[in-house]
């Protein structure tokens, strides 16, 4: 109610037309920022925009450079063809076989990394004393500091042989599951499964840190409520922490997926970089497979047409990882727990 002080407000007479609405002027409030504020605003906006410009430039570069190969092959053919042959004329190149390998490696990595990350995040936030928490956080972060080349070398020189028995066991016991089937006397090294395990170790720190951040924001009141009702710590985690952190787990996993999709060195070392043939069944446990980034790394420096084709494959990867990361950030920000988390 806008009543000028001092005026008498009379009750409106009954059964009369309502009074016409008063004329009002809208005063638009404008704030005049100080010079310092304006300057600061410009700097921050500039920094923000430069990121967008950079992203656009990368995209444009990829588009221009790949136009040769894409023009000759046709976008649709390029996207749906699994072969990559530059020894025939005209060259028959397509990205689908590479994409299939990329997605498979990334999925294997995320499937392995997510449970590990969630449990390590829980160990850090729920089961540790303050001292041990610090230590564990440091160790996980240290894992992120290991150059990916070292991971790749380690996976190639050491881990590969150690995984073979596991692969063998999996295919012997779960061979009925199509992905775990292997053909007779196929080598079990250099498989998508092994590459996935190595990539899992690389994405583990990022997923753990997002999930840990989200878990640590669980409202303490709800945790206390669950414990006060006679819940065990694990019961409390199940009823309060995990539901609260759901968005963070999904978002963190997708962020990890984005990283895993682009992982290069490890897969370039580990996989034979033979594009997966679609239509043939996919065997993740045996030697074979290629990923976009690994393939590009292996073939870089070839003739002009091949380079253009490789960049076209890079463009596809660029769009996919960009999309994955965007979806990840939307999922996290929409969830109850993710409001305050930046990923």
């Amino acid at each position: 109610m806008n009543v000028v002080p001092g005026t008498v407000v009379e009750d409106p007479p009954v059964a009369e037309d309502p009074p016409a609405p008063r004329e009002r002027t809208r005063r638009v409030i404008t704030e005049v920022p100080s010079r310092a504020d304006r300057r600061f605003n410009q700097i921050t906006m500039g920094a923000g925009i430069s990121v967008l410009v950079l992203l656009t430039l990368v995209g444009l570069f990829l588009m221009i450079q790949s136009s040769d190969a894409l023009g000759e092959t046709g976008i649709w053919t390029f996207l749906t063809r699994t072969e990559w042959r530059t020894d025939v004329t005209p060259a028959r190149i397509g990205v689908l076989g590479l994409l299939a390998g990329t997605v498979l490696v990334a999925v294997v990595a995320v499937v392995i990394a997510v449970p590990l990350s969630v449990f390590s995040a829980l160990a850090i936030t729920e089961y540790s004393t303050a001292k041990r928490r610090k230590w564990l956080v440091g160790v996980v972060d240290l894992l992120a500091a290991v150059p990916s080349l070292l991971f790749g070398l380690w996976g190639f020189l050491y881990l590969s042989d150690k995984i073979v028995p596991i692969s063998l066991w999996l295919t012997q016991n779960f061979g009925w599951f199509p992905l775990f089937k292997t053909s007779e006397d196929a080598s079990l090294t250099g498989s998508i499964f092994i590459a996935g395990i190595v990539v899992a170790l690389m994405v583990l720190p990022i997923i753990t840190s997002v999930v840990r951040e989200v878990f640590s924001q669980t409202p303490p009141g709800e945790k206390e409520a669950a414990l006060a009702l006679g819940g065990t710590r694990w019961g409390m985690i199940k009823t309060v922490v995990l539901p609260f952190g759901k968005g963070g787990i999904v978002g963190g996993s997708m962020l990890g997926l984005g990283r895993a999709l682009g992982e290069t060195i490890a897969v370039a070392l580990l996989l034979p970089q033979v594009p997966q043939k679609i239509g043939e069944s996919i065997h993740i446990l045996q030697n074979g497979g290629a990923t976009v980034s690994g393939f590009i790394a292996n073939r870089a420096g070839a003739d002009e047409f091949t380079t253009s084709g490789l960049l076209a494959a890079g463009l596809v990867l660029f769009i996919i990882t960009l999309g994955t990361n965007m979806i990840a950030s939307v999922v996290v920000s929409k969830s109850r727990s993710g409001a305050g988390v930046d990923i």
Binding site: A225, L227, A228, L229, G230, T232, G235, T239, R336
Partner: protein, 302 residues
Amino acid sequence: MPDVDVDVDVDSEVEQDLEENLTEDDRNEAEKVFAKKVEIIGGPPAGPATLEAKDACAWFGDRLVLEGVDLIMPKGKVTALIGPSGCGKSTFLRLLNRMHELIPGAALDGEILLDGDDIYAAGTRAQQVRMRIGMVFQKPNPFPAMTIRENVLAALKLARLKCDDKDTLVEQSLLRAGLWKEVRDRLDSPGGALSGGQQQRLCIARSLAVHPNVLLMDEPCSALDPTSTRRVEETIDELRGEVTVVIVTHNMQQAQRVSDLCAFFLAAENQPGMVVEQGPTDVMFSTPTDPRTLDYVQGRFG
């Protein structure tokens, strides 16, 4: 700012007036509901229990915050813990259901006896104790993603108890907490969507669902508006005899209205808190022996 939804509370006030006029049917209905026996397998033994603190002391790290508390909280009675902030009331309350130990570095001395058995005895699990001694917190803390019904039944899931008639248990618990009428048509809507006062009553219902022997309340009304406060006090009154209630409150009128017994906690500067005086509430508020008690209950403190 406590997020109290004013609109809802005006509504509930209107509803309460209605309730006072035409509750005959509701009363009969409620009586019928309470006549049904709901068995909780693995739950606490039936009836209220006596809680006794013997020379209870509490530390946070090296800091002694509570010293030498001897207090009997008799079965079925309402005991109020009063005293200025920082005198160890809440710490004492959290000693009573082993919530104290959740804070890193927390320690204690003395005994807390529940019907004669030390709740800190070796081999006694905290979960077992907390199931028998429920707790309502200062800030309403329903599980926001769960429905109202799931909230009430949360303890069954958490403590892994079985119940033969969940619907009746939900209705009984919500009736006892004075929330049934307001939510009976929307048991499947989320608990977080209720007003502050309703959320707190939901928390009370949730604590009562396992039929605890004791209910601890840590300033349960400090975030509530007067109408909701009255509702909670009515609930406490109805629980008298069925459950032993221990309530921490800063509201002297509330302590006077709801409690049978009263304990006055006080901490001198840089000294641990202790009980200065305890006794029947009417005596504590009219003719206490310690002058500090009189000063405090009459609001002349500090």
